[in-house]
Amino acid sequence: MVEAAPWLVLVLPAMLAVATIGVVTFDAALAARAAGRPESLAVSASVPFREAARLLVGQRRTTLAADGVLWRAGVITLPVAALSAALVLPLGTASVADLAVGVVWFNAMEILAWAAVWLAGWGPNSAFSLVGGYRFVAQGLAYELPHMFALITAATAAGTLRIGGIVEAQADLWFVVWMPVAFVVYLLSAAAMAFWGPFDAPVGRELAGGAAAELSGVDRLLFLGGRRLLLVVAAAMAVPLFLGGGGGPLLPAWLWTLLKTAAVLAAVVWLGRRFPTVRMERFMEVAWMVLIPLTILQALVVSLVVLVR
């Protein structure tokens, strides 16, 4: 049973910030290992703070004939979207707001990322930024439909759009067991919506950083920090949707939620470094010819099970 606990709104941002710091630390440790230079946890753990420090004192750049309002609006929208989406995220048995249309709220907030990245790419009047924006919109066209089918599959099985209801429906059996396709597609789209590797083309290095090409200082901190926050929230939502929420033996529900979230996040971050960047000109075909039919089929199977049961 998930209850609304508005006081959580005081704790939630801090927890998400800790998780975001954890993502940067883990990613830095993986990078150090890949460079044949395994470093101590203390060194890896200092990375997020060093990064934040250099961006806090860094100069905020402007570009010639930039559209300042839209540019900054795009930058700030990304962390705001991630935080808003997190409002329906249950921590154990409590969430800030267990809306009757929780799944729709989550989906609506995460789609704000489209506007955020497009505006951040458009604003600075720079060709590479703009192309980064294009790339994210193309990426959205590829991942969003399979993503929505994955969300709807979980909601159909539970018979409700309320996240708390979806968790309750998994009391006997986690959804990941009988809808694995939806789970895998959900994780893929979580990485894609946070333009995390291998879906990081919108901020690709070969494009001088793409949508983030002109961002420096606090703007860069908000945008790239917001991106990691979005990854955290998207990965955390996999837990109530497919992994039984806070359900588990012995440990309290909130701890199970944290453990499962950490495991999902670690997997997503690790996998993100394993592959080269996937270009949408190649991935679009897979998304529409393979992933959409697969997720529709998965939704169909789940619907039949619900009807027969």
């Binding site: 060093r50 250099r54 294009y134 000109e281």
Partner: protein, 381 residues
């Protein structure tokens, strides 16, 4: 100690390094890459992300303006470094980090009052220090003319942007400039220029020594050749967005040049080549890109991007047993074909490609322009 200086010191412990290469600057570039990697300093992809801007090699007159612009585009605090040769690179970087911790360089703080050279172009690293000055006429926001229009490949009337790629771009052949006309992210037209030369190629050095009568061992020549292939591979993998594999390739390259024996390098090189070759994702992403028919005279360009990187892997594996040989390289052993033809085929290969594809095609040909003689406008654009 106030908060700002604390933050400066904290941030300067892990500065982001924007490293670009001028022709002939391969050796200092390798040294800076190695020193930054051992310190765990990440590579910046654009001036906006850079704390240290390092130009490896000699900055010639035609590179002075772009080099200056690049340094100015980095946000303060910043430190600009020239690494004309590979000596004492580590000390240079340490000093730069110390200057960064103290607030960065101030000597370049004169306002960049002159407008950037070509206003019509959105340069790949656009003017950073120009806060929107200039007259605000309707058709010239900030003094920048509006984009032209032209028909794209589907016959739609779309904006055209003129975007130069290079010469000072990370993971890009030194001295190469591709003047592109972009519609969306597709290159409609490409013109190739070469700037900053002439210089002598680091990768051909053993053969130059051989030609001038010095004895060169087969081992030294093989090492240099494999290291060159690994450098190309690392660049391609970086452009392809596979940072971890690229780092491994760079690490092997540096150990090879430092003289590590074949017995130690062999298993690790083999692991890398197997990992790259087995990556279905990489094949899927590079198959059929930049295909060059097999009747071209430049053998190393044959096939698509996949064929070219597979060729490097095969050549590296094949040459590896030779790296400890101490017998003399026979006179007449030739270095690679000169890159003039590679450069000449670029416009044709790049026209009609998307930007990411174009970068992969350039990285897969990886022309070493220092092998080219005098700088010139390349015909065929």
């Amino acid at each position: 100690m106030d908060l700002t200086s604390r933050l400066l010191r904290l941030g300067a412990g892990r500065p982001h390094v924007l490293l670009v290469e001028a022709p002939g600057g391969t050796e200092p570039r390798l040294a800076v890459e190695r020193e930054a990697r051992t310190r765990g300093w990440p590579a910046a992809g654009s001036p906006a992300d850079a704390d240290l801007v390092v130009i490896a090699g000699r900055v010639t007159d035609d590179l002075a303006a772009p080099a200056d612009r690049l340094g100015r585009q980095a946000p303060r605090p910043r430190v600009r470094l020239a690494a004309p040769d590979a000596s004492s690179t580590g000390r240079l970087l340490e000093e730069a980090a110390a200057r960064l911790a103290a607030g960065g360089d101030l000597e370049d703080d004169a306002p960049a009052s002159a407008p950037p050279e070509s206003h019509s172009s959105h340069s790949p690293t656009p003017p950073g220090d120009h806060a929107g000055h200039g007259d605000m006429e309707m058709d010239m926001p900030g003094g920048v003319p509006m984009a032209d229009r032209g028909e794209d490949r589907d016959g739609l009337l779309l904006d055209q942007l003129h975007v130069p790629l290079g010469p000072l771009l990370p993971d890009w052949p030194a001295g190469l400039v591709v003047q592109t006309t972009l519609q969306g992210d597709v290159i409609q037209d490409a013109r190739v220029e070469v700037v900053g030369g002439p210089a002598s190629s680091f990768w051909d050095e053993p053969w130059r020594r051989l030609a001038s009568g010095d004895p060169v061992t087969v081992g030294a020549a093989s090492r240099r050749r494999i290291a060159g292939h690994l450098d190309s591979l690392a660049r391609l993998l970086t452009v392809a967005g596979w940072a971890d594999a690229a780092t491994r390739a760079r690490q092997l390259r540096d150990e090879l040049l430092a003289g590590a024996p074949a017995a130690e390098l062999g298993p690790r090189l083999w692991r890398l080549t197997r990992r790259v070759r087995r990556s279905r994702t990489l094949r899927w992403l590079t198959d059929d890109l930049g295909a060059v028919p097999a009747d071209t005279s430049v053998v190393r360009a044959w096939g698509d991007v996949t064929a070219r990187w597979s060729g490097w892997l095969a050549a590296a594996e094949q040459l590896l047993p030779d790296i400890d040989r101490s017998d003399r390289l026979p006179l007449g052993d030739a270095p690679r074909d000169p890159p003039a033809e590679l450069v000449a085929m670029l416009p044709g290969l790049l026209t009609g490609t998307e930007l990411a594809t174009a970068r992969l095609v350039v990285a897969s040909l990886d022309p070493d322009l220092a092998e080219l003689g005098t700088p010139a406008e390349v015909p065929g654009g």
